[in-house]
């Protein structure tokens, strides 16, 4: 119950829906049991005693009761659903808000699939229980209680004989719940596996075709497909075993009822109509009992779901904005003083005692192999992570003292994998600055050398991107990402490996665009190619989180056997020969 108590803030404000739903449920249940009683009265009072003048009355009473029941059923169901739906609406908003705030640290270890399953199936499981499960439990108790009372009222011995099989039914139901759930999990798991198999096959289709491994893939698919079939069939074996058995036990009760009840009627201890009523009442008890296991299981599922949702809602937020945070304009003076960064304890530090100073308008180049810490440097400026020791200063002030929005609004990011959203090109460029006018958007695109190719598309800036949208080449995506960064008019620009995935000509185009864009902004360029960063005011060569060389392009080339010189030699091996031969 702890989970439900902790999530109280989401459903308690809407409790009135729930209680009204219960109120109507009460009417529904009582009237349900009235039906066999009316049948009994019709037979015993009207037919047997020939009081036919009662018929119109009985018919009228019955119809009115059913009308009330109909209305009560509607409100019971609708209000109950509403209770769950509105709670989940609030819950989703809260989860989304939280997910927007959680830092990079959280996402480093989280899997999209896992978060998604919490946001979809766990939210749904929780809703289902609130909407339906809890009320269903109450309905079962009410219906069984009232039905039993009526039966006892008619005849105690007959009730006892009829209900003799009930314990067996309960045992069977409980046993079924026990075996059914692992079986259902088995089906879901094997469906999940089959899904993954197909998904991988389609995503890796080029690789499959390039090695012509289609037959192998069909073989692997057959195995998973067969596994799913087997799982499903073995579970359906359970249905085949249990459902007819439950029905059979119910039928045994009916047979016992006919035998003993018939005897009682013959002996004159029971009215015929009462026996008739028993036939209905028996099923009012058996039916809900067959359901009770399902409801109990639903409860434990909802509890587990609620637990997983709480994990997100209560996740620790590690980037906290100070009160009275500074919201001043940022000129772009970035200073690192002995900065050390460790992502996870016990792991080697990603950055070790890094220091540098980048006055406004200067360009810093960062080079080094994968994992050397280049990206970490830029992620500290935006305060995506907090340094373990040392200070990161912007305009002479620690980044911690800035309002996050102010800080990040002054920094434009272009990443290697240019992630674009499912919307028009226009909205993608305006992403960081929703107030941008069309002129500003076009201006940004022009400066990123993107305007021309955008205008060549039939729908221009309204072209939709994303999975189902138009396909763009890597270079085109990258230029839209650059336009997006320019559109916020940042003081600091970070280009993280922005051109490594494009061909030489496109890189040339992009570099030209960037040169223009970087004017007047403090820029950080992370690159593998010397050509991308040779004009930087200072180049830092990183290795295992340490600066191993620093200086301008020319200074670094003078260092014989230096790391920078080594990379230069490989990339420019033919350069001199060819350029000389031209002359």
């Amino acid at each position: 119950m702890d989970t439900f108590r902790k999530l109280k803030e989401f459903y308690w404000p809407y409790r009135k829906y729930f209680f009204w739903s219960l109120f109507f449920l009460f009417f529904v249940t009582v009237i349900t049991v009235v039906y066999p009683i009316i049948l009994q009265i019709t037979i015993d009072e009207v037919v047997a005693k020939e009081k036919y003048e009662l018929i119109p009355w009985i018919a009228t009473v019955f119809f009115v009761l059913m009308l009330i029941k109909g209305i009560a059923t509607f409100y019971h169901q609708f209000l109950g659903e509403r209770f769950g739906v509105v709670t989940v609406y609030k819950l989703r908003d809260a989860l989304y808000k939280k997910l927007q705030i959680l830092s990079f640290k959280y996402y480093d270890n989280a899997k999209t699939g896992d978060i998604m399953s919490r946001l979809t199936s766990d939210v749904e499981g929780f809703r289902f229980f609130l909407s339906f499960g809890f009320a269903e439990l109450i309905r079962i108790i009410l219906l069984i209680g009232i039905s039993l009372s009526v039966m006892f009222y008619y005849s105690v011995p007959l009730t006892l004989v009829t209900m003799a099989a009930m314990p067996f039914l309960i045992i069977v139901v409980m046993r079924f719940e026990k075996v059914a759930h692992p079986a259902f999990r088995g089906i879901r798991k094997s469906f999940g596996k089959l899904n993954t198999r197909v998904q991988e096959n389609i995503s890796g289709m080029q690789t499959v075709k390039s090695l012509s491994r289609e037959d192998f893939e069909i073989g692997r698919f057959s195995n998973s497909n067969d596994d799913y079939r087997k799982n499903y069939i073995s579970t359906s074996e359970l249905w085949a075993k249990f459902f007819p058995l439950m029905e059979f036990i119910g039928n045994v009760c009916a047979v016992a009822l006919l035998a003993f009840g018939g005897y009682l009627v013959i002996a004159g201890n029971l009215a015929l109509g009462e026996l008739m009523a028993f036939f209905s009442l028996v099923w009012y008890i058996m039916g809900p009992l067959m359901n009770v296991g399902y409801v109990i299981n639903m409860f434990s599922q909802a509890k587990a779901s609620g637990e997983r949702l709480r994990e997100i809602l209560e996740e620790h937020e590690d980037i906290i904005v100070k009160e009275n945070a500074v919201k001043d304009h940022i000129e772009g003076h970035v200073t690192f003083k002995d900065v050390t960064l460790t992502y996870t304890k016990d792991d080697d530090s990603a950055l070790k005692n890094i220091s540098f100073d980048a006055p406004p308008g200067k360009t810093i180049g960062l080079i080094g192999s994968t994992g050397s810490g280049k990206t970490s440097v830029t992620q500290l400026i935006t305060r995506f992570y907090e340094p373990e020791s040392g200070e990161v200063l912007v305009d002479g002030r620690p980044v911690k003292e800035y309002d996050l929005k102010t800080l990040r609004n002054h920094i434009g990011f272009v990443l290697q994998e240019s992630f674009l959203f499912s919307t028009s090109i226009r909205e993608n460029i305006a992403y960081g600055n929703p107030d941008a006018t069309d002129e500003q958007i076009i201006e940004a695109a022009k400066r990123a050398q993107a305007h021309d190719f955008i205008m060549e598309m039939p729908k221009g800036y309204d072209t939709l991107l994303g999975e189902r949208g138009m396909g763009l080449s890597g270079g085109q995506k990258q230029r839209i990402a650059i336009a997006r960064a320019i559109c916020v008019d940042p003081s600091i620009l970070v280009l993280d490996d922005a051109t490594s995935a494009v061909d030489m000509e496109t890189e040339f185009q992009i570099q030209k665009a960037l040169k223009e864009v970087m004017k007047g902004r403090t820029s950080f360029i992370i690159a593998h190619r010397i050509s991308s960063l040779k004009h930087a005011d200072e180049i830092l060569v990183l290795e295992n989180g340490k600066v191993v060389e620093r200086g301008t392009h020319d200074e670094l080339l003078r260092k014989e056997n230096g790391a920078y010189k080594r990379i230069y030699d490989i990339q420019y091996q033919d350069h001199d020969a060819i350029m000389n031969s031209v002359n």
């Binding site: 109909g70 994968t370 593998h528 490989i570």
Partner: protein
Amino acid sequence: MATKDMKLKEKRHLKRFYYSVDQAIEKPFNWKQIWRLIVYLKPYTRTYLLGAILAMVVSTAIRLAIPLLIGKAAFDTAIKNEDTTLLINLVIIIGVLYLISYIANYLRIKWVNLLGQNVIYDLRQHLFTHVQGLSNNFFDSRSAGSILVRIMNDTNSLQDLFSNGIINLLMDIATLIGIVTILFTLSPKLAIAVLVILPLMFYISTVLRRKIRRTWQEVRIQQSRMNSHLNESIQGIRITQSFTQEKENTEFFDGLNTDNYNAWINATKKSAMFRPFVEMSNAVGTVILIAYGAHLIILGPSNGGIELGTFIAFAFFLGMFWDPISRLGQMYNQLLVAMASSERIFEYLDEKPNVDEVENPYEFKEMKGHIEFDKVQFSYDQDRIALHEISLEMKSGQTIALVGHTGSGKSTIANLISRFYDPTQGQVKIDGQNLRETSLKSLRQHISVVLQDTFIFSGTIMENIRFGRPDASDEEVIEAAKTVGADDFISRLAKGYQTEVEERGNILSAGERQLLSFARALLANPSIIILDEATASIDTETELKIQGALRRLLKGRTSIIIAHRLSTIREADNIYVLEHGKILENGSHDELMESKGEYYELVRSQFQMLDAI
């Protein structure tokens, strides 16, 4: 005016994303499609289908007989005449019937599921196998998600139709006919009076339910949009935080969430009306039964009335009407959805591969790798010619490079060698054999393509390399990894070759992934190897490390290298420079540099670009 502009601006982010929904809704009934579906039942007609129908007939007959036994025999005869022996006999008979019905139900459920699962298995297998044979442009023009939905979800939505659907349809029709017949036999007058509710029930189970279904469809569409956004917002969270759009996105999401909420409320409101309507129609039936039934009892059987037992039997049967009618209504809706799903499935099954095999095609047992293009012309669509009368020869064991701008025809040449397409005119021959007459499988078995992006399947590194040749032993896999120089980094991992990797994981760097793809290709031991921009995304130091591996991989094979970067192609035996689907010149690196033609210009312009930045 100014305030209006402000408001528009403020609201812009509330419409910032666009999600389309790719989901089967419903389609009109189509006999042709039904017949195509029924074909899948054929292998099981004499076994599971027949068995399930027999079991169904038995249990339906018993279900109909029991109210008669209780009403007519037990109440009207045994209890009325105080005949204890008859009552005991009846109890025994009913007990035995229930036992038989229990067994029949067991068998029915079992066979029905065997039938459904086997049919779905076959259908899915057929679809998957067919899709594997489709060409690259099929996959290029569709997102992975939309193909996945058809193979998984659209087939699954037919599952219920094939298992319970068919049997229930037969069972429900049999039950309804049975009940109506019995009621008319017992008392035609009362039957007509009570059956007045039938049209009402049919109306509720089809039309009303249809309206309710529409509202749930809206819910599903809203939910699917919301999930698309959730997925995207998680994947793009770093961009969102970089551009501080958290608040704006939260507001956008609230819009989606509100739409979803409204759709739910609308759907639940309509759904909540369903049960009351059903019960009201039942109530009308019962009122008629009580009023008119009692009247008939008073008349007595001799005056055209009924006995009490008939009345009781009617009460039982009246309660049995709703289930079959409800299921039939549901069945009808289910069929409409099945129409949409099966249409989407058949659309894929009707998709033809680009190339056909001739009868008795030539099988490559061995391949030397001698490739010839004889006046080959090719166009992807009619007005755009990709290759103009290309003739060239690649000798066995040579390394050939193809250079040129995007769209010059480099990849088309590679695609024709693997026979992903057939030339529009002219012939492509390998070892003197026209590719049109060869079997696709035997041809491609001897060709490997190494791509720029290496796909990592989830599984161990061992399994990933073995993808090149599934029957390779562990030793052979390790041997291949050693040859291309991948063994070093694999051995350094804690679990070595048993390390679990996946496509989105970050255990492997780009260079390491590339080495794995080399090992895969080496293990496949092809006669022809095509490197399609294979080293484009690797940084310089890694590229240098890979050079040696590459040399060992290409040794003794006909190799075709497509590349932008000059460092990878300078060692080729023959370099073809292409432009607009024509060969401009060819020769070795030194020869071409010497002649100062197009190749020389290409090399020079690349360096000029570098210097100009």
